[in-house]
Subunit: 301 residues, 2 copies
């Protein structure tokens, strides 16, 4: 029986792009509800300057809560050594570093070229971090709203550089530009370059291709997927377009295919309701939540 690991990134990627702030207490309850639904990995926040992203100001407190929940791997995002140090101090189990494959996006966002960002991550990897996993996430790996096309070669080069000192590498379609043919092609190329170090896929559903892209990645051997409950987040560049792949639809797709996620769809709906109640004005997405399971549905064993 096949299995996949789904990492819920709603508390980070979703809330970071939401129009409303979720109070710290509600975040804790939401993360607990996600863990109760069977999520084994949750990206709970990012260690960025609070002035830049106020929604992430309480990440240290959130990490400290989340690591008390048994059975989950607590992930935080950090863009640099300072953020990494804060993540270590809070007790995160895994830290993910975004490195944009788009030069234009990288320079605008972090005032560094992609190669300079790789060096920043190398510094973090060399900083003592006993027992803490480091992931390098190649962002804008399938296109960029500023630069447009991102050459496959750039993605492969960044991924190969990160693989030298990260525990794992993920490819992220940060702006929802990817398509299934491209997903197959790029994952295949990166895998042939870095083998088992290639771990995760992070897709956005901006143009509705989130599940199709996830399917393509799965068929290329990917077994770790980021997603967010209710497709929370949206994209500032595409008003009305949803955020990440929708967790509940992704879980339903895999379970119905006989691929086990370890996640209980009914309890996931409880976590969704909690989030929706706390963020009543936020647009949420997802078809599964409206339609429920088919008659006679059996989850994967």
């Amino acid at each position: 029986m096949s299995q996949v690991l789904i990492c819920e990134v709603g508390p980070r990627d979703g809330l970071q792009n939401a129009h409303q702030l979720m109070p710290t207490d509600a975040k804790k309850r939401w993360i607990s509800a996600l863990a109760a639904a069977g999520l084994k990995e949750i990206e709970v926040g990012s260690f960025v300057p609070p002035k830049l992203i106020p929604a992430m100001a309480d990440t240290a407190e959130i990490v400290k809560h989340a690591i008390t929940i048994p059975g989950i791997k607590v992930v935080a995002l950090a863009p640099n050594l300072k953020g990494f140090q804060r993540a270590l101090e809070a007790g995160a189990h895994k830290v993910t570093f975004p490195v944009s494959a788009s030069r234009q996006h990288s320079e605008a966002n972090v005032r560094m070229t992609p190669d300079q960002m790789v060096e920043e991550v190398r510094k973090c990897a060399e900083y003592p971090h006993p027992g803490v996993e480091i992931e390098g996430a190649v962002s804008t790996a399938f296109g960029c709203t500023m630069q447009g096309e991102v050459p496959d070669d750039d993605v492969v080069r960044i991924a190969a550089a990160l693989a030298q000192f990260c525990d794992g590498v993920a490819l992220a379609d940060t702006v929802g530009y990817g398509n299934p043919a491209q997903v197959r092609r790029i994952f295949r190329r990166v895998k042939s370059e870095i083998g088992g170090k290639l771990e995760g896929a992070h897709f956005h559903n901006t143009r509705g291709l989130g599940l199709a892209n996830s399917l393509a990645a799965y068929e290329e051997g990917v077994r770790a997927f980021d997603s967010s409950l209710g497709g929370l987040g949206g994209c500032p560049f595409a008003p009305g377009a949803s955020g990440n792949v929708i967790t509940e639809d992704l879980v339903f797709m895999f379970e119905s295919m006989g691929v086990s996620t370890g996640i209980d769809l009914e309890k996931l709906m409880v976590a969704r309701k909690l989030m929706v109640d706390v963020l009543p004005q936020e647009q949420v997405y997802g078809h599964f939540a409206l339609a429920g399971v088919p008659k006679g549905f059996r989850a994967a064993a």
Copy 2:
């Protein structure tokens, strides 16, 4: 370069399940706008008793209009010989006959077993119909809201029976129960049974898997897909759930993969706007319509 044929079924499957009636005149304008966007095949209505489905009462007039538009194949649905005769009289180019693979669904809907419905379609095939194409559509081929699971063997048996006297056979996920693994498995089995007679896939997006299922079918060699603009229609059994696969998202997926649809996305948005303006209370779906094309996007040649 690969190509697919997309058949717009919104005027039939969409409007049949919509909460509002579209006036005859608006239907004509909508179908013309769809043709102008490059749709080569449009299912414009069904010849069923108007008392049962008032939205389809003007189908004869709609067919008569549609056949005056150059370059499109005009499809109508008929459930029996009487409907077929009306379709022929109106001048439809192709008639599709739904035959449910679910015994329970078939008996409830048409008071006939699936085998009896196959015989009804055979009668139609034997009725003179010079130059008119006949398609047998195996409905509830991926599950049934009444019966639950539909055995693959039943789908294969009905498809094989229809292939004896139909020009082509389609498999329909009438209620949106299908998943990509099942799509691959069933299309593969039916293809090995009836070969080139297997033509189309008709998916619903009830649980959000419409594009993923279309991708799976494409990779199994299917090159003809039904879909509806804006995912119009919904499903009476799943309030809030969308109807067919969303045409504009499907076109975007294929075009971005380099698979030509012959459809102009910009003109398709014109047809969407026309439909939305006429049916202001109808819920429409689709991510592409919100997000637009990626920067640097090139349609398939």
